[in-house]
């Protein structure tokens, strides 16, 4: 038995600056490994014990109380012998003497120091940013300010459409404020979400009554003492009682910098979480590791583990950086994103859209490994993808079903027919028309239906957007067994979808789809942004369906329509000014000659449609060429467009000895009415003054042959690769009737033909009888079609040259970005 005991070895002194998530997590880990090694002092600038900062959003939304988000109460500090100094900000680190001094004047010595000061919100330095009523979203004090403002009602403007901004916006909305989110980019949460998911999120927020303004650049916060409004660079002013700035965070390096520690964007640490001073470690948002800073808790916890191990004496523990994932904490909006989802070299995009459930998933795979994932609406597999991403798991074996998630594989899911068979009779099959399985099966058996069309006719199932077509077919197969031959499959639009052109058009109308991303989402496109086949078609279908409302997407147009000139084999362009009905004048010809000289245009040619084509114009010269032609009163001839090109005429009764009517004058009227329209393919009209038909009117999309007693209208002709003579549609007596029939015919073609289908194949496909029925037999229908045509024309008869010649549209198209070397 020994007679004296050794005095206890004095414990080392550990001081922690920052009572937040990373600092205290480090202590938790440390206490688990080496409970007795240190005398610990914690300084926290906030007056509270350690709480779960990420739960401030639910506190704001009223879903949680502050007590519920406290992680370690004061009793925890006491139980572990930790001295906690709250509301006391550390001001100075004296590295020479190894002490820290806080604002209260208290000085505490250390053997080891841990800096975990987190970050501070970025406040954009616009005028007014220091007014009362402008807050960040960082700590409980900010939440209290917001809750007070919300209690008074009124309007809130949230600057920043990222994770924090949207959580603030949602919370304030739930608390009854009128909320507008201003976001500089055009996609919300653009760092976490791709455009499709961003668009879905935006719809959801708008559905909740939150206004979202993208591309919104704040110029000033207005107010004398308290904020009253936010003014944007474009001059728009938004009244505001509260402004929340959530545009980003900046690592809080103030203390570290003042102490002379190596700092970049954050306090620099090595893999041991040690700063440039071996006695000082740092963790959390305030650090920079291998050039990276982090703003999410998962990596901070990984850092905490390493720092704790090092403090406990390990020489091995090392932090090597983190891959992060994000979830949005807005109740009822499920968003998940991880890794790099931008795609790129050798990447494969696997996209899944389930419109009915509002689900969008995108997994980016490179060399058989997951590089990134974006999930919207159904995030339950987020963790699974994220784990495989972090582990670099080889996904080739599950490649085919990867996108369906972890639980995929049961018989029901793998075999769609079995899945439909397993549904109860009451299961809704067709969402658009509310038709359930029982109704369809009964109709098939009782009415003896045997094809999709019949089911559509009798039950309406699959007759609108068509997204249930597959299931209806399976019901036919199940009910009829071998008696069902299957459908002669119409070809899908392109490889991005299984839908046919007709199905897509029906869906645009039935589901009220107004943008290309909307269509792709609802109709479950397989690619992120389509291809050169479907995008121009969708752009046209939307333009046709929503005149005056749909905003044309120039990126979904072929080059000719984008720059309003014809590209030629050497990359130069040709330009065709419009000559109404083929008429021109000395003034116009002179202007054309001048342009030819001025721009050294090499070739001038008369086209097959009686217009003048100027060949070999350099792209940069286009705006100037147009400006000169515009100045002489000439507008674009749309010789490049899937639209009305020319109305060819003969001289008619004005000069020709055979002429029966004024064919030139009628041609001019027709061209004035139809120019500027967008159609599925190019359209050419012609008017001949007598049956000698000098304008070759019977091989045009629509040709008028004047006769003594009136006008013969011929349709569906084509002088192209497959020559087709027109069919005679009808004979009418007046010019007014010619105009009405023409408008109605154009509109019917616009509404029914598939993109890039000229009138000749369209007429053959639907049959002349159908066209007669719609245009000749149905006077009311004809008038309605014509009215729709004229309505749409009221938005489209702008000269595309003028707005480009004056530089107000697409200026970037015509100038190189730079000249180097």
């Amino acid at each position: 038995m020994s007679t004296h005991t050794n005095p206890p070895t004095p414990r080392e002194r550990l001081v922690v600056v920052g009572n937040g998530m990373a600092g205290i997590r480090t202590l938790e880990e440390l206490l688990a490994k080496a409970p007795d090694r240190y005398d610990i002092t914690v300084f926290g600038a906030e007056p509270h014990p350690n709480y779960n900062r990420i739960m401030l959003s639910p506190v704001l939304a009223g879903e949680k109380t502050f007590e519920q988000i406290v992680l370690n109460g004061r009793d925890w500090y006491e139980a572990n012998g930790i001295r906690l100094l709250t509301g006391d900000r550390v001001e100075v680190i004296d590295r020479a003497n190894c002490t820290v001094t806080a604002i209260s004047g208290l000085t505490v010595p250390y053997d080891k120091l841990l800096i975990a000061t987190g970050s501070t919100p970025v406040i954009i330095p616009v005028p007014g940013s220091t007014l009362t009523g402008v807050v960040g979203f960082r700590d409980l004090a900010d939440v209290d300010t917001m809750l007070e403002a919300a209690a008074r009602g009124g309007r809130a403007v949230v600057i920043g459409g990222g994770l924090l901004g949207l959580e603030a916006a949602n919370g304030l909305k739930v608390k009854g404020m009128d909320v507008t989110v201003l976001h500089l980019m055009d996609t919300l949460m653009e760092r976490q979400l791709d455009r499709s998911a961003g668009a879905l999120l935006r719809h959801e927020l708008e559905r909740r009554g939150i206004t979202v303004l993208t591309g919104a650049d704040t110029a000033e916060i207005v107010g004398s003492e308290k904020v009253s409004a936010v003014r944007l660079k474009n001059g728009q002013e938004l009244p505001a009682d509260l402004v929340v700035m959530a545009v980003g965070i900046r690592p809080n390096t103030t203390l570290g910098k003042a102490a002379g520690l190596a700092c970049g964007r954050g306090i620099q640490v090595d893999d041991a979480m040690t700063t440039s001073d071996p006695a000082i470690l740092s963790v959390g948002e305030c650090v920079e590791h291998r050039g990276q800073t982090y703003g999410l808790v998962a990596p901070l916890f990984e850092m905490a583990k390493v720092a704790a191990a090092r403090l406990a004496g390990s020489a091995e523990a090392a932090y090597t950086g983190s891959v992060t994932s994000t979830k949005l904490k807005v109740t009822g909006v499920d968003v998940f994103s991880a890794g790099d989802f931008t795609g790129g070299k050798d990447c494969e995009d696997i996209v899944f859209r389930d419109a009915a459930r509002g689900v969008y998933k995108r997994v980016v795979v490179k060399e058989n490994r997951i590089l990134g994932a974006v999930l919207y609406g159904d995030t339950k597999d987020g963790g699974w993808y994220f784990q495989m991403l972090k582990d670099g798991t080889e996904v080739a074996p599950v490649r085919d079903t990867l996108i369906f998630g972890q639980s995929f594989g049961g018989e029901g899911a793998a075999n769609p027919k079995a899945a439909v068979a397993a549904l109860p009779d009451s299961a809704e099959i067709c969402g658009c028309n509310g038709v359930c399985k029982g109704t369809i099966v009964t109709a098939i058996t009782e009415k003896g239906l045997s094809s999709l069309d019949e089911v559509r006719a009798h039950t309406k199932a699959s007759a609108s957007c068509g997204s249930c077509t597959g299931q209806v077919e399976q019901l036919l197969a199940l009910t009829l067994g071998d008696g069902y031959a299957g459908e002669a499959k119409a070809k899908p639009m392109c490889k991005c979808t299984d839908r046919t052109h007709d199905e897509v058009r029906r869906a645009i109308t039935a589901l009220d789809l107004k943008t290309i991303p909307d269509v792709m989402q609802r109709l479950e496109w397989r690619t992120p942004d389509g291809c050169h086949h479907c995008r121009p078609a969708l752009n046209y279908y939307l333009l046709c369906e929503w005149p005056g409302e749909y905003k044309d997407d120039s990126r979904s147009r072929y080059i000719n329509e984008r720059v309003h000139a014809n590209i030629q084999k050497d990359g130069t362009y040709s330009v065709v000014p419009r000559m109404w009905g083929g008429l021109t004048s000395a003034k116009e010809l002179r202007a054309i000659a001048d342009v030819v000289d001025k721009f050294a245009i090499p070739t001038v040619k008369v086209t097959g449609g009686q217009r003048i084509d100027l060949f070999g114009v350099k792209k940069e010269d286009l705006p100037a060429v147009w400006a000169d032609l515009n100045a002489a009163g000439m507008v674009s001839g749309h010789a490049y467009a899937k639209g009305l090109r020319t109305v060819k005429t003969c001289v008619g009764s004005e000069w020709c000895r055979f002429g029966t009517q004024d064919s030139t004058g009628l041609g001019v009227k027709l061209e004035r009415m139809t120019w500027g329209t967008w159609t599925p393919h190019k359209v050419k009209l012609a008017v001949s003054g007598c049956p000698r038909n000098c304008a070759e009117a019977t091989i045009k999309d629509l040709g008028v042959v004047c006769v003594d007693s009136g006008y013969e209208l011929h349709v569906g002709g084509n002088g192209g690769m497959h020559v087709r003579a027109c069919d005679l549609l009808v004979k009418v007596e007046t010019e007014a009737e010619v105009l009405e029939y023409t408008g109605a015919y154009m509109q019917l073609y616009r509404e029914e033909a598939r993109y890039l289908e000229r009138t000749a194949p369209w007429v053959e496909r639907v049959g002349l009888d159908h066209i007669r029925r719609r245009l000749v037999d149905d006077a009311e229908g004809r008038a309605a079609l014509n009215a729709r045509f004229l309505f749409s024309q009221s938005f489209s008869q702008d000269d595309p040259w003028a707005e480009r010649a004056n530089g107000s549209v697409d200026r970037h198209e015509f100038a190189p970005l730079a000249q180097v070397g």
Partner: protein
């Protein structure tokens, strides 16, 4: 490899329309810069390997562009023609630093195909 390249700033990402492209005139001929829907930036020689069409004028979809002349589809990352067609537009290292687009022109590799690129 990045260290050995000298980078020249030619403009900002925002100067290139998304799903579109801009041309940079260089001593090696025109280089087309593309920006995809996901905001990736790529640089290819502005000549289609088929018959020299200006790729910058095509429709950009995913990380591909369709040539405006005869609709060959070219992979933006490699410059290679996709699927049954064969040929490669030259490509040039490109990177984006703080929104600035930088070309590694010295490492430009010309293409091969039917238009005399060998």
């Amino acid at each position: 490899m990045d260290q050995s390249i000298s980078w020249i700033t030619v403009g900002s990402v925002e100067d290139i329309p998304r799903q579109g492209s801009r041309v940079v005139r260089t001593g090696f001929g025109d280089i087309a810069l593309f920006r995809t829907v996901a905001d990736e930036v790529y640089a290819l020689e502005d000549r289609c390997p088929h018959a020299g069409g200006p790729l910058s004028q095509g429709i950009v979809h995913g990380a591909r562009v369709t040539c405006p002349l005869h609709s060959w589809v070219i992979d933006l990352a490699s410059g290679e023609a996709v699927g049954p067609d064969e040929g490669c537009a030259g490509h040039c290292p490109v990177r984006v630093v703080d929104g600035a687009v930088q070309l590694g022109l010295a490492a430009f590799r010309p293409g091969r195909g039917g238009c005399g690129h060998g």
